[in-house]
């Protein structure tokens, strides 16, 4: 294992993860709201935000999948050293990390069971940038309407139609994060 894998973790795990969790909570509870998320420094090309989500939420109890560009030896070593989370196939993973180009189709992932819709995957997607424009978001956590520059609309419409099943999304770009739970109704900007 390279020495680089030992670096880039939280400096003060209880405090850093508490602060990070508040940002992630805000992102998930207020779809479209863009939060700054820092704390971890994962190996490239994983973003700071995605790495911080990983260290805040993943541990030996959670399986995770690294897709394509994020599935390199440095990142695998870093994940294993800092979290001990088992790396599994995308079909079985509780958390899936990948760039937008590599995460579709969403049918691949766990959507939960009728009696336990929480047993579903959370997708952490690397996206170029996050802006409050583009697709219209409505639903829980949104007062009237919110906007987010989603890379596509149709896959998220289909995911929301599965409610209460479905997968939940965290979009990451650099040190920014925005949430899109299954409860959000997405529509094209008119």
């Amino acid at each position: 294992m390279a020495e680089a894998a030992l670096k880039g973790g939280f400096e003060n795990p209880p405090i850093d993860s508490a602060r990070a969790f508040r940002r992630i909570t805000n992102a998930m509870a207020r779809p479209g709201k863009i939060e700054t998320l820092v704390g971890a420094t994962p190996p490239p090309p994983m973003s700071v935000a995605a790495g911080t989500v990983l260290l805040t939420l993943c541990d030996p109890d959670t399986s995770l999948a690294l897709l394509e560009t994020l599935n390199n030896q440095e990142i695998r070593d870093w994940v294993t050293f800092h979290t001990g989370a088992p790396i599994v196939s995308a079909q079985r993973a509780d958390f899936v990390f990948g760039a937008w180009d590599n995460v579709r189709p969403f049918q691949t992932y766990k959507t939960g069971e009728a009696q336990y819709p929480d047993r579903s995957a959370t997708l952490v997607i690397e996206w170029e940038e996050l802006k409050n424009r583009g697709a219209h978001l409505q639903g829980p956590g949104i007062k009237d309407i919110a906007f987010l520059n989603l890379p596509s609309v149709q896959p998220f419409v289909e995911n929301a139609a599965l409610f209460p099943l479905g997968i939940d999304f965290l979009f990451c770009s650099d040190d920014q994060i925005a949430g899109l739970p299954r409860s959000t109704k997405v529509s094209e900007s008119s």
């Binding site: 209880p14 405090i15 998930m28 929480d118 829980p140 949104i142 209460p164 739970p181 409860s183």
Partner: protein, 280 residues
């Protein structure tokens, strides 16, 4: 080593609770199972709320704890002191100053803002539990959206009492999907649940966490001809004179003398000091 880890719980436990909270926020009103821990207080004293607060608090937070609206009751004081000891964060009695509020059985009278989180202590999270004792069955009922039994219960209330007699823990439907127990808050508080703050519910003994993102649609169950009514004692507060707050009835002597006072002590105190200032 003689200090507690920040917020008492170990990091792996906090991660487990945090994952449950996020799934709860993603599926509003659905009860997420979690591996509730033994806390240094008995079940029934708010261990669910305490675990949610422990997983949620940051060093920058200002924490408020209320029990039936009051900051100065045993349960509220002991939980507040517990978190002061294990986190060192600031605490307050003032609703407007708090960033995280843990509550037992009330929603503060002052409207909460987007920068606040309300954590509920929940004894029985399953609204169908007293109608159907088996968890395997209530799971199925939620999965199938089979809530007829709850309406029968409300109907029986009407046939027996002439009105829906359920006055607290009044069942609500969240975003037209899950029927949820709002914890034993008075039904007077039900309409406040569509609020700007994040609401997280923790049931320690029953090992469930559920949540409501801001502005989530929360509808109290009722019938067209017996609409929901957010009732309260037909009085004004005998201390501050407020007419639109939830009141506690307090026995004041051995002759049956009684007064009605605001259950929200912070709100009542603020009204009193405002009245005092305007009279000076």
């Amino acid at each position: 080593m003689n200090e507690y880890n920040f917020a008492y719980l170990d990091e792996q436990t906090k991660r487990m609770i945090r994952r449950a909270i996020l799934k709860g926020l993603a599926i509003p009103g659905y009860q997420v199972p979690f591996a509730s821990r033994e806390m240094p207080m008995p079940y029934g004293w708010g261990t669910g709320g305490v675990q949610v607060s422990a997983a949620t608090l940051t060093p920058e937070d200002i924490f408020k704890v209320i029990d039936q609206g009051a900051d100065d009751t045993t349960n509220a004081i002991s939980i507040r002191k517990f978190f002061q000891k294990v986190t060192g964060i600031k605490v307050t009695d003032k609703t407007i100053d708090a960033t995280v509020i843990q509550t037992r059985h009330r929603i503060p009278e002052t409207s909460l803002t987007e920068d606040q989180i309300l954590v509920y202590q929940v004894p029985i999270p399953e609204p169908l539990r007293f109608l159907e004792p088996y968890e395997t069955e209530t799971r199925k009922m939620h999965a199938l959206e089979e809530y007829g039994l709850m309406y029968v219960k409300l109907y029986e209330d009407i046939s027996r009492h002439g009105a829906i007699a359920t006055s607290y823990a009044y069942p609500v439907k969240v975003e037209g999907r899950y029927v949820m127990d709002p914890s034993p808050i008075p039904k007077f508080d039900n309409p406040k649940m569509e609020m700007a703050a994040i609401q997280i519910f923790g049931a320690g003994r029953e090992q469930r966490i559920y949540a409501l993102p801001p502005y989530t649609q929360v509808v109290s169950l009722d019938f067209d001809d017996y609409p929901f009514e957010a009732s309260k004692a037909d009085h004004v507060c005998d201390i501050c004179g407020s007419s639109d707050t939830y009141l506690d009835e307090v026995i004041v002597d051995d002759q049956g003398g009684r007064i009605f006072v605001c259950s929200d002590t912070d709100f009542c105190a603020a009204q009193q000091s405002a009245a005092l200032e305007s009279s000076e």
